[in-house]
């Protein structure tokens, strides 16, 4: 269980005055202070943690955000920025003495320019909303987190969200041109713009993935890309995790970078098949979904080469889709994976470590051993091309001991990821969940360096407190 900073009693005592001050800055429905109405904001995608905030504000313009921040800064009130609240690391978890600043009403698309290949959108536009706004003209926004129907671009920027296609197209950071931000004391700053690579420090890069620690993002300029002519998937099933891992290495070594390369282990295959009836091979220990893009002839050529590579790894079966419908069927199970695991076990923790792909088989074996030792089931789904593991650790939320064991198991998996040369999180962020593990990956000196940068933006540490940085400096 994670500890939080104690609430500031003086702020709790001034609650009514603070709410009244916020009401002067926003239309009546822009401030929520009633207990019942605050409830929906008490948690995010990491539902094991809950805390009703002091109040919620829902601004519609950058000017309102600036006014709110200036006011809360003067009052010394903590702020938790929030997009759609789908964070899986508790990044948007409120605090008792903090105001949640929700960006969901800032949901307007401000500019689309297909000639210059960019879109300017407010922070509360959903990820899929950007693609929907440009797809009539044949374009798309590339990063595609599985939560893309709900999650918002401001949240994506702050978590540096990835997706199934980031092996080819990169993560959020690689697809941004500019940001409009509001500082902790309410000043508006534009970073980057419609052009590439502003001279000077890469503020855009630093802000991306900063988990609401540095500033509030109110507008985002993204790069949009022309959609490929087409895409097709294939599925290959193997006798062992080691073999599937070796096949991934052969694919990359061959010079082919598929647009997606997803790995599922036996428990994941079974869970997804039971849920989605996608025709997954139940006799396999491991399965790869591989997707390629291009014209039909180009797809044929790549899928042919990939089939040959898979054939060298003694596959149980290889199924190459011949149509959009067959590709959709192959993806159906994978896309429903979280729901599928949820059916086996209503409660699970979704981990997000990254490992060097060469250590894959060894890491999966050790996760399997831990699962047996601790009596907790785990299904592994991950982005194989880039080594981003998503072990789903199942537990029973009604049993506090089961939750505690699941958390310890998760921490041990992430520690293992770091030990083999990887990292704690590939796309879900540190949040509260991995905060106390930061000392596993970083030295005290390194954490202090990061803390000083945080202080440069937010000297009073009012922005999204209790997240990312261990509360106490790690013992030397």
């Amino acid at each position: 269980m994670i500890t939080q900073l104690p609430p500031r009693q003086d702020v709790l005592a001034r609650r009514d005055a603070i709410v009244a001050g916020l009401r002067r800055l926003l239309p009546p429905d822009g401030v929520i202070a009633e207990k019942l109405l605050l409830k929906p904001y008490e948690t995010d995608g990491l539902t094991a943690y809950r805390q009703v905030p002091l109040a919620v504000v829902l601004p519609e313009t950058t000017a309102q955000v600036a006014a709110i921040m200036a006011f809360l800064h003067r009052e010394g009130v903590r702020v938790v920025p929030r997009g759609a609240g789908t964070s899986l690391s508790g990044g948007a978890l409120p605090m008792q003495d903090a105001v949640v600043l929700g960006l969901m009403r800032m949901n307007r698309i401000l500019e689309i320019d297909t000639a210059d290949r960019l879109a300017v959108v407010q922070a509360g536009v959903t990820n899929i909303g950007i693609t929907q706004a440009v797809q009539a003209e044949g374009f798309f926004y590339a990063p595609d987190p599985s939560s893309q129907l709900a999650c918002m671009i401001g949240g994506n920027v702050n978590m540096n969200a990835g997706g199934a296609h980031c092996l080819r197209y990169g993560v959020t950071a690689n697809n941004l041109l500019g940001l409009k931000i509001v500082t902790v004391d309410g000043q508006v700053i534009e970073l980057g713009g419609a052009h590439l690579d502003a001279a000077g420090y890469d503020w855009l890069g630093l802000l991306t993935g900063s988990e609401g620690q540095l500033a509030i993002v109110t507008e985002v300029t993204v790069r949009i890309l022309r959609s490929p002519e087409g895409a097709r998937a294939m599925l290959a099933a193997f006798r062992a995790n080691e073999v599937a891992g070796a096949c991934v290495a052969s694919i990359i070594a061959s010079g082919i970078i598929p647009v997606a390369l997803e790995f599922m282990d036996r428990p994941a295959i079974h869970a997804c098949e039971a849920f989605a009836h996608a025709g997954y091979p139940l006799d396999a220990e491991a399965m790869l979904i591989i997707e390629v893009e291009g014209s039909p002839a180009e797809q044929d050529e790549l899928l042919g080469r990939l089939r040959d590579i898979c054939a060298r790894h003694d596959p149980i079966s290889v199924k190459v889709s011949s149509s959009v419908a067959e590709s959709a069927a192959i993806w159906k199970g994978r896309k429903g994976a979280f729901g599928a695991v949820g059916r086996i076990s209503p409660d699970y923790l979704c981990m997000d470590g990254v490992i060097p792909t060469s250590r894959l088989a060894e890491v999966l074996r050790r996760i399997g051993e831990m699962s047996a030792e601790r009596g907790l089931q785990v299904a592994n789904i991950f982005h194989a091309g880039d080594g981003n593991l998503h072990p789903l650790i199942m537990f029973d939320a009604n049993d506090p001991d089961s939750f505690a064991r699941a958390e310890r198991f998760g921490a041990d998996v992430l520690t293992l990821c770091v030990e083999v040369g990887g990292c704690l999180t590939g796309e879900h962020g540190v949040g509260v969940e991995k905060r106390d593990l930061m000392g596993v990956q970083f030295t005290a000196t390194e954490l202090d360096q990061q803390r000083r940068i945080k202080s440069a933006f937010d000297p009073g540490w009012l922005l999204n407190p209790s997240k990312v940085f261990p509360l106490q400096p790690a013992p030397a």
């Binding site: 419609a194 052009h195 590439l196 890069g205 900063s210 991995k434 970083f442």
Partner: protein
């Protein structure tokens, strides 16, 4: 000259030595000129320092795992050696690192650390990202002599603040890079370049936009006006260039499709693999402007604004120029005067873009803003961030901006 400079410089043999040198300078409050081999010393503002600290002796590849697409090397490793090492495994450094030696009149061998510190990205930037997009991990020494790491040797990593991006392009003003890990990619099987001759700049950039907005994976797009085009092998007269890099059969098919799609702009010729390599090496290294006297600027704007900036500066001071990154990177040569510089800055600002004075006599570089000033609230944050790394301001003081 570079050899003499290196002899005067502190050139520790390892990271611990770099840390000790910086620590000593920190304690003495003594500014350092931070560099690799000094090949880019003539860029940006001159640094007033007691000594030079070179990472040039920190050399060698420390990890190369082709099937994981990762390469780590010490900061002083020569870019040429890295290119050779990855080429031997059928891979390449995605950022297509330009070599500005000729442009800057340097004979020193560019290092990895320098290329990363300057965020150098070639023509592929428009499609595959800048150097900063491929830096997976860094090791560095901050201004108090502490060794810090960020990122790592895996392809995805959002653990903590992304100091890789902050240090990339910081020109040695925040920390001394000692080791860098890059994501590398396979070398394409085949390359080709589509050439459209005789277009004016506006039509040319419209053609580049059509190509970059096609589904054919265009990996570079440049426009050369008649005035400088002869310095690109294969060209003589104004031309729009569009590069394809992929499997051989893809390049054949895509060339034909693009030829048809671009036919409204005129006749399309196709350069083969060897001619493509030669042409884009020239664009990458700014060869079209290498022989121009005076100052050189790089302006980055939204692509459609490139031609307007070129036209304005041609009128103002008879600028020589060409466009890369689909029109968004305007390379400009002109007189090394404050008036010409002001004209470039104004044109960039009006188009909402950014500029760098890349080459000029020291006096001009010392006198003007070589990169845009930051708005006051950001400048205040920048000063605090600088102090967070380098509290005594000893690393490359004044390199980016006067008094910083």
């Amino acid at each position: 000259m570079s050899a003499r400079l290196l002899a005067d410089a502190l050139a520790p043999a390892d990271e611990a030595g770099v840390a000790a040198s910086v620590r000593a300078a920190f304690e003495a409050g003594e500014p350092l000129l931070v560099q690799g081999n000094g090949s880019k010393r003539a860029m940006l503002r001159p640094v007033q320092a007691a000594r030079a600290l070179s990472a040039g002796a920190l050399s060698g590849i420390t990890l190369y795992s082709p099937q994981e697409l990762v390469l780590s090397a010490r900061a002083g490793t020569m870019v040429a050696d890295l290119n050779a090492a990855v080429a031997a495994q059928g891979q390449q450094i995605t950022a297509e690192i330009p070599d500005f030696s000729a442009l800057l009149g340097s004979t020193a061998a560019p290092t990895l650390g320098g290329a990363v510190a300057a965020n150098l990205s070639g023509p592929r930037r428009v499609a595959w990202g800048a150097m900063r997009d491929h830096v997976l991990g860094v090791r560095a020494v901050n201004g108090t002599g502490d060794i810090i790491r960020s990122g790592g040797r895996v392809l995805k990593n959002v653990t903590g603040l992304d100091l890789c991006k902050l240090l990339t392009g910081s020109h040695g003003t925040l920390a001394v890079l000692t080791e860098v890990t890059l994501k590398v990619l396979p070398v394409p099987e085949r390359r080709a370049t589509l050439v459209l001759r005789g277009l004016d700049p506006v039509q040319g950039v419209a053609a580049l936009a059509a190509a970059l907005g096609s589904p054919y994976g265009v990996s570079a797009a440049a426009y050369l006006p008649a005035s400088v085009s002869h310095r690109v092998p294969g060209l003589n007269g104004a031309a729009a260039l569009v590069r394809l890099e992929d499997f051989a059969s893809f390049v054949a098919y895509r060339s034909e499709r693009l030829r048809a799609d671009l036919s409204a702009f005129g006749q399309v010729e196709v350069l083969d693999d060897a001619a493509t390599l030669a042409a884009w090496a020239a664009v990458r290294d700014a060869a079209p402007l290498v022989d121009e006297p005076g100052a050189i600027w790089r302006v980055s704007v939204r692509p459609s604004a490139g031609p307007r900036i070129a036209a304005v500066l041609e009128r103002m001071f008879d600028a020589r120029w060409f466009l890369d990154w689909g029109g968004g990177l305007v390379w400009i040569a002109g007189p090394a005067t404050a008036a010409a510089h002001d004209a470039v800055c104004a044109a960039a600002r009006e188009a909402g873009g950014t500029w760098t004075l890349l080459r000029a006599p020291e006096a001009l570089r010392a006198a003007v803003a070589v990169i845009p000033p930051e708005p006051a609230p950001l400048a205040a944050i920048a000063r605090r961030v600088k102090a967070a790394f380098d509290p005594k301001g000893i690393l490359n003081p004044g390199r980016l901006r006067a008094g910083e």
